[in-house]
Structure formats: structure tokens, C-alpha cells
């Protein structure tokens, strides 16, 4: 009964640990991809009355052309701007009728322009122009990805701690139920290490088998998720990009080993504590 409890708990722990690690890896991967996509580019937003926008954009392009760290500057076409807004506003609004600012895609070289100096020049020469170098978005994305990864690692560690607790309780209960055997073995000349190994081996075997089963189920669930097509992947599809990639599968394969190690340490400690009470 206790053996089944340890085995099934290890299976649940394996499943949860694998899923948390997969979520963490995916969050990190997507965050890195998004951040990488924002490296080397910036956006200039030019606002103002509709009849002055073309002139302001032209003035902004002149400023940008002479700015060190700017490799290219290209105003987005109305259709490109619509494509950016479509996911947020839908296709029912007449976007062409809205007083939208114009966007200029800025390609950067090296460390990019001195943002403060550029902002001052733009303020003087192009009213309503705002330069955004994407740096704060990149940092925010990285921070979010790191936080999600840490959360996933924490969840994985918690599940292993849970397994530790279950194995400890299971080992103690098993040893208590077999106290007569322990006493007899000790009196017949068994060393503590021999008895500990005998009980630890069984617990570890059950924990590893359970964790392997849980890992296999979790891997099956991950494989059953819809796979992102190339375009989605390029955009960093968050939910469909959960499937581990390449070496990440190896990391998931470490879950049964970690479960086995946690079970071994927990069972050995519990057995040693129980044995200390036997003469």
C-alpha cells in the first residue's frame, strides 16, 4: 500500500515537474526570441495634425539620416500600420479614418544613437515625435521570461520537496510496520547500512519507476500539443511553443533521476533515524 503511495506520488511529481520545467523553458525561449527580434531596431512615432504629418515625417527622416548609430530609417506604409493594429482593434473599425500617428522603423548600428541627444534634436525640429529604442521592452521581456523560468524552477523544486516528504513518511511507516524484522536483523548481526540499503533500495526503485511514468505521460501531453507553424514560431507563439526542443528533452529526462536522488536521500535519512531507536 505504502509502496503504491510512493510510486503514484512520484508519478504525479514527475508529471508536474516535467510540465513546470517545460513551461519555464518555453517562457525563456519565447522571451529570448522576442527580445532578439527587438535588438537592432527602434521606432519613431510622429504625431500631429493630419495635414502636417508628411512634412513632420520628412523632417524626422532628415534628423535620423545624420544621426550616428542610425543605419536606416523607413516610414511604415499605411497597410503595414494597419497590419500592426489589426490584432488589437479588429477589422471592423475604419482605421484609415482614425487620427493615427505615423511610424518610422529605425534600423540601428553599433550601440545605436545617443537617445537623449536624439530626443532633444527631435523635440526641437520635429514637434510630436517620440523615439523609442525598444530597450525597455526588451528588458521587460527578459525580466518576465526570467521570472517565469524561476517560477517554473521553484515549482519543480517544490514537487521534489513534496516527494521528499512522501518518501520520508512512507519509509518511516514501512519501517515502523516492520519493526520486528528490524530488531531481529539487528540482533542477528545486520549492520545499519545493510538494513538502510535494503529499505532505501525499494523506496528509490518505486520513486524512480513512478517518476519515469509521470515523465512519460507529461512528455506525451507535451507532444500532443498543437505545433506552431513556421510563421507562428517566428512570431514567438507562446502557447503553441511549449514543446521542448532539442537538448531540452534531455533536461526533462533528468526529472526521474532527480526524483530518485530525492527519494534516496529522504529514505536513507528516515531509515537512519528509525534505526537509531533500535538497539
Amino acid at each position: 500500500m505504502l509502496g503504491w503511495l510512493v510510486g503514484s506520488s512520484a508519478a504525479a511529481v514527475g508529471l508536474l515537474a516535467v510540465l513546470s520545467i517545460a513551461f519555464g523553458l518555453a517562457a525563456n525561449r519565447v522571451g529570448e526570441r522576442w527580445a532578439a527580434a527587438l535588438v537592432g531596431s527602434a521606432t519613431l512615432r510622429v504625431g500631429g495634425p493630419a495635414d502636417e504629418l508628411d512634412a513632420r515625417v520628412a523632417a524626422a527622416l532628415r534628423v535620423l539620416e545624420g544621426t550616428p548609430g542610425v543605419a536606416s530609417a523607413r516610414p511604415l506604409s499605411p497597410s503595414e500600420q494597419e497590419a500592426l493594429l489589426l490584432p488589437w482593434l479588429g477589422d471592423r473599425l475604419p482605421l484609415e479614418a482614425l487620427p493615427l500617428p505615423r511610424l518610422v522603423a529605425v534600423g540601428l548600428e553599433g550601440d545605436g544613437p545617443d537617445a537623449d541627444s536624439l530626443a532633444r534634436r527631435l523635440a526641437g525640429e520635429v514637434p510630436g515625435a517620440v523615439y523609442e529604442d525598444h530597450g525597455r521592452w526588451r528588458r521587460a521581456l527578459r525580466d518576465a521570461a526570467e521570472a517565469l523560468s524561476l517560477l517554473a524552477v521553484g515549482a519543480g523544486a517544490l514537487t521534489l520537496a513534496l516527494l521528499w516528504g512522501i518518501v520520508s513518511i512512507g519509509t518511516r511507516a514501512t519501517l515502523d510496520a516492520h519493526r520486528g524484522i528490524l530488531v531481529t536483523l539487528r540482533l542477528l548481526g545486520a549492520k545499519d547500512g545493510y538494513i538502510t540499503r535494503a529499505f532505501t533500495r525499494r523506496m528509490v526503485l518505486r520513486a524512480v519507476l513512478g517518476a519515469v511514468l509521470g515523465t512519460a505521460i507529461a512528455a506525451g501531453l507535451l507532444l500532443a500539443l498543437p505545433r506552431p507553424d513556421r510563421a507562428e514560431a517566428a512570431q514567438g507563439a507562446a502557447l503553441t511553443g511549449l514543446i521542448p526542443q532539442g537538448a531540452e528533452w534531455l533536461a526533462l529526462g533528468l526529472v526521474p533521476l532527480a526524483a530518485g536522488l530525492a527519494a534516496f536521500l529522504a529514505a536513507r535519512r528516515a531509515a537512519q533515524q528509525v534505526l537509531r531507536a533500535v538497539a
Partner: protein
């Protein structure tokens, strides 16, 4: 005089107020045969447990094989126990193992493989007359068979000292004589024997066969060379 077992002003009590043994001094020389007798509850089993290191003295010192038991590590206790064969009153078998496996247990616990002790095991099983019952499980054995299996288990690892707690307690007189003859044979082979019993017939039969020192436990003391 140095012996296999030495009690030096030894005192023991299960509680601080109630003393089972008080300032007992005793030496069991190598190769001797001692019979420990006394009323039920006098402390016979306690003496055997002390000798087997299952209990530690509350006062004084106990030396087993020349080594004080005070401060012995658990592994050192195990090493000492491996030089002692014990027959418990209730035999203490592992019920999920066969009689043969139970008898072989002390050798398994020393890390030996069955091919190392197969011959010894067969000889011992024959010696105690359990050839036909070797594959039975302990609960299937009669009282006499259990005592014989326990004796075989106690001696399979060639211990220097044999402790037996009421080895004839639950068997008929004929089986009691048979068990005694086995224990006497072990003593003739040089083993030191300490038997706790209140079976007078067994004590008399032992005295007729070998030089026996009688020890009587009473009121916390052990009288050496007591008469029946």
C-alpha cells in the same frame, strides 16, 4: 581472571527507581557452560540481553570479549554480536522467509553468498533434524521445530558464545533432552554457553554431562555455584 563475559559491579534497571541487577560481578570463562536460573521476572532474560548488547548497564561495567560495552559504536556492537549466537525465547523468525533461509540469515548478513555456506547449512539442518521441514515457513513449525531451527540459526556462523533463553520452554521433555544434547555438543566443541532456564530436569541432565556452573538470579543479585 579474564573471561568472555565480565560483569564488574554491574547495575541495571529499566527505570531509575526499580533495579533488576545491583552491583553484580561475574566472569564467564572461555569454553564454560553456565546455567542461569531463578524465578520468573527475576532478571534472567535481562542478563542475556545485557550479554547480547541489547541493553546497556546503568552502573558498573560489562566487558564482552575483553571489550567494554560503554561507548561502543553501532557497528562495533554488530561486530560483537556476530561472535555471539542467540536462541530467543520466542525464536524471532522472519515469517516471509523459509526455515532454510532463516537459519542461513546470519551468514547472509555477513555478506556471504549461498554457495559459501550451502554445505554448512545442509549439515546444520540435518544436525537439528529439520531436513524435511527446511522449505516450510516458520508459522508452519511446531514449538520443538522452531527451537531446533533457532538453535541452528544461532550456531551457523560459528559463534564463540551461545546464549539461549528458555530453549526448552515450549517443548515436551523428549524434545527438551534432544535440544540439550545439541547444546552440550556445542559446548564440547569449545563454545561458551549461557542458558537461562527454570527447567530443573534440563539443569540436572546438563550437570550429569559437563561441568556446569549454576547462576541464580534473585533480588538483583546473582549467586554463583548455587545448588538446585
Amino acid at each position: 581472571m579474564q573471561g568472555l563475559i565480565e560483569f564488574q559491579d554491574l547495575g541495571f534497571g529499566y527505570t531509575a527507581r526499580e533495579r533488576v541487577l545491583e552491583r553484580v560481578s561475574l566472569v564467564l570463562p572461555d569454553g564454560s557452560f553456565h546455567v542461569l536460573t531463578g524465578a520468573s521476572g527475576a532478571g534472567k532474560t535481562t542478563v542475556l540481553k545485557l550479554c547480547h548488547l541489547a541493553l546497556r548497564p546503568s552502573q558498573g561495567d560489562l566487558r564482552v570479549f575483553g571489550q567494554s560495552v560503554q561507548g561502543l559504536s553501532r557497528d562495533a556492537v554488530t561486530a560483537t554480536r556476530r561472535r555471539i549466537g542467540i536462541v530467543h525465547q520466542d525464536c524471532q523468525f522472519l515469517d516471509h522467509l523459509s526455515v532454510r533461509q532463516n537459519i542461513a540469515l546470519p551468514r547472509y548478513l555477513r555478506g556471504e553468498t549461498p554457495d559459501h555456506f550451502a554445505e554448512d547449512l545442509s549439515d546444520l539442518i540435518a544436525w537439528v533434524g529439520l531436513e524435511k521441514r527446511k522449505d516450510a515457513m516458520p508459522p508452519e513449525l511446531s514449538s520443538g521445530e522452531r527451537q531446533r531451527a533457532a538453535l541452528a540459526r544461532a550456531v551457523i556462523a560459528s559463534p564463540e558464545l551461545i546464549l539461549a533463553d528458555e530453549p526448552t520452554g515450549n517443548v515436551d521433555p523428549r524434545m527438551g533432552q534432544h535440544l540439550l544434547s545439541l547444546i552440550l555438543e556445542l559446548n564440547r566443541l569449545g563454545k561458551t554457553v549461557l542458558v537461562a532456564t527454570h527447567d530443573l530436569a534440563l539443569i540436572r541432565a546438563a550437570r550429569d554431562a559437563v561441568p556446569v556452573r549454576l547462576l541464580r538470579v534473585s533480588s538483583g543479585a546473582i549467586a554463583v555455584g548455587a545448588t538446585l
